[in-house]
């Protein structure tokens, strides 16, 4: 703890005089600033830096459970990743989710936010809550409902059969393509409202005069959207894109609860595989840590690329 100087000291107080000389006003100020940062810094040191180093050391070791030894070539676990078919499959799955789901979700969120920001709209609180609600709901409950809805005799099959779009019920969760589709649908369903709140927040910060000007210049709603709204929201779009990419790369919940990774691991994500490696049957912490580093590196690279791309379009 840095010492803070009591406000009540007088000029005659030699002790405080010495301190004042040792720390100028500037450094005294920054000391107070650091004190405010202390709790958060300690937490981050303990919960982020320490595990990061620990995980790196673990990733160089092999063995089951707690009996771990350093691997023979130190990078053994990392080398193993490239030959691990399950890992490569989960990598592919995760990127399929990323490429399909993130753009759809962000566009939907942007459209919804624009609609909700309309000044003529009544009951805004109600609409916002309604659209945000899915993301506030526990994913176990929603996975339960999704699994019922997409079961053989579920409401989705019933509806599709009723409209004569399909001849026989589809076993949604037991086929690779449809299982992935259900996961993507679940993701879009759950996170669109969340991203919408961000866009809504950004929209409310925009100057309404820009929209007025566009209207006077004769721009319709669609042109206004593309030429006035979207460019002004660019920082926010970048932020949500980075957050969603990051979230998708670390995706665990949907894979774990909706499909259990099945059929035959074809809908499993990297984090789900990591969890299985580390906490199911024969925990292999070393290999799991190597995998978590692989995820960390991918997250970092993608975030970096997105920031670069986002900067260039200025």
């Amino acid at each position: 703890m840095p010492r803070t100087i009591p406000r009540s000291t007088t000029a005659l107080d030699t002790e405080s005089d010495k301190q004042k000389r040792r720390f100028g006003i500037e450094s005294r100020r920054s000391l107070t600033g650091w004190t405010f940062l202390l709790p958060a810094s300690l937490l981050i040191l303990w919960m982020n830096f320490y595990p990061m180093i620990q995980a790196f050391i673990l990733s160089l070791k092999t063995g089951k459970g707690t009996r771990l030894n350093f691997a023979d070539p130190l990078w053994y676990n990392y080398e193993r990743l490239f030959h691990d078919d399950v890992f490569l499959l989960t990598l592919k799955n995760t990127f399929i989710y990323l490429v399909i789901q993130v753009p759809i979700m962000l566009v939907l969120a942007l459209i919804l936010a624009t609609l909700l920001n309309d000044p003529n709209l009544k009951f805004k609180a109600f609409w916002r809550t309604a659209i945000f609600l899915p993301c506030a709901v526990s994913l176990v409950s929603y996975s339960l409902v999704f699994r019922t809805m997409f079961s053989n005799d579920g409401i989705v099959n019933d509806a599709l059969l009723g409209m004569h779009l399909i001849g026989s019920p589809i076993n949604w969760l037991a086929q690779t393509g449809t299982a992935r589709f259900v996961i993507i649908l679940g993701l879009v369903w759950r996170w669109t409202g969340y991203n919408m709140v961000f866009y809504l927040a950004a929209l409310q910060n925009l100057d309404y005069a820009t929209f007025e000007a566009a209207r006077i210049d004769g721009a319709g709603p669609i042109k206004t959207f593309f030429y006035v709204t979207v460019p002004q929201l660019k920082p926010m779009i970048l932020l949500t894109a980075i957050m969603s990419t990051n979230g998708t790369l670390q995706l665990f919940d949907e894979s774990w609860n909706l499909t259990q990774g099945g059929p035959a691991n074809t809908s499993m994500t990297m984090s789900h595989y990591l969890y299985n490696l580390s906490f199911r049957n024969n925990p292999n912490f070393g290999y799991g840590s190597a995998l978590s580093y692989a995820i960390l590196i991918m997250v970092a690279i993608l975030a970096f690329i997105q920031m670069k791309v986002g900067d260039k379009r200025d």
Partner: protein, 297 residues
């Protein structure tokens, strides 16, 4: 008829035009509402189905879910409250979420205040480190911390979950707080300092009350994160019945009682209530908070 309209006074024409505009405006609002209603029905269909079907007897549910039930009963809710551990899960979830929210408010509030008011070099570096940790995969922590917490004897206690939830929410909450503090004029504190407050009291007595809406937004964010989190909870809280949270408890319940659909749906409905009420109460502040925090962050 046409001659009469063309000969009406300019005043009448103006009224007609403004009527037409008002009508157009109202029509637009209605179309918008209808579009949103459809969007809302689609997004909330799973929840509506859950809530409606949880009110039906299990025998009826097994015949398939419906939007228009013939018989309604509260049996499922009575069963859930009497025969399952739902009250325990609920208490655990609420407790963990509340404690997490408290710690998050303290840690991110102080950090956000520092980043907003003390613009030193260290703070600039710190802030970018924080931004980087927003992207930190929490699974990476979980493995290493599992080993550590086992030594501490913290497995199957709420401690690891609370600490990890605080850390998970920290970067974003700090940003939100920083944005809020940035929007509060510095002169207010300087006046307080002149009147003899220390920097801590100035923050506590002057800035915090003004940052109320921001704090509300941060609070609900932290609460939701802790209330719904699954992976950390399943790593640290799943082995002992008495510490399970709602998501974990529900998950075990689903595995054990595969036929008790009515009760599962009732649990799901009950679990959705606290976040719903909370968000409805503070949604306006939440959006303001995100605007202040995230946009400028």
């Amino acid at each position: 008829m046409s001659t009469t309209t063309s000969t009406t006074s300019p005043a009448t024409r103006r009224i007609a035009r403004s009527n037409r505009q008002a009508f157009k405006k109202r029509a637009k609002a209605w179309t918008l509402s209808i579009i949103l209603l459809v969007a809302m029905l689609i997004t909330n269909m799973p929840l509506i189905l859950t809530a409606i079907n949880s009110l039906r007897p299990t025998i009826d549910i097994l015949k398939g879910s419906t939007l228009f039930p013939k018989r309604l009963s509260l049996d499922n809710y009575v069963n859930v409250l009497q025969n399952t551990d739902f009250p325990t899960w609920f208490r655990n979830s609420i407790m963990i979420a509340l404690i997490t929210t408290g710690f998050t408010l303290i840690c991110s509030g102080c950090a956000g205040y520092s980043l907003s008011r003390y613009k030193t070099k260290v703070n600039a570096v710190w802030s970018s480190i924080l931004m980087a940790f927003q992207l930190f995969p929490i699974v990476l922590s979980v493995i290493a911390l599992f080993v550590l917490f086992r030594i501490f004897g913290w497995l199957n206690t709420p401690m690891p979950a609370v600490i990890l939830y605080v850390v998970m929410g920290l970067p974003f909450c700090t940003w939100m707080f920083k944005g809020f503090f940035d929007s509060i004029p510095r002169e207010l504190e300087e006046a307080a300092r002149v009147d003899g407050c220390t920097s801590f009291t100035a923050m506590y007595r002057i800035v915090l009350p003004l940052a109320g809406p921001g704090a509300a937004a941060v609070a609900i964010y932290a609460f939701l994160l802790a209330y719904n989190e699954y992976m950390v909870a399943s790593a640290f809280l799943s082995q002992k019945q008495s510490v399970r949270t709602i998501p974990i408890g529900l998950r075990f319940f689903i595995q054990q009682y595969t036929t008790e659909w009515g009760q599962m749906l009732a649990v799901s409905t009950l679990a959705a209530l606290p976040p719903l009420i909370l968000f409805l109460l503070v949604q306006k502040w939440m959006i303001q908070g995100m605007a202040a925090g995230a946009v400028k962050g």
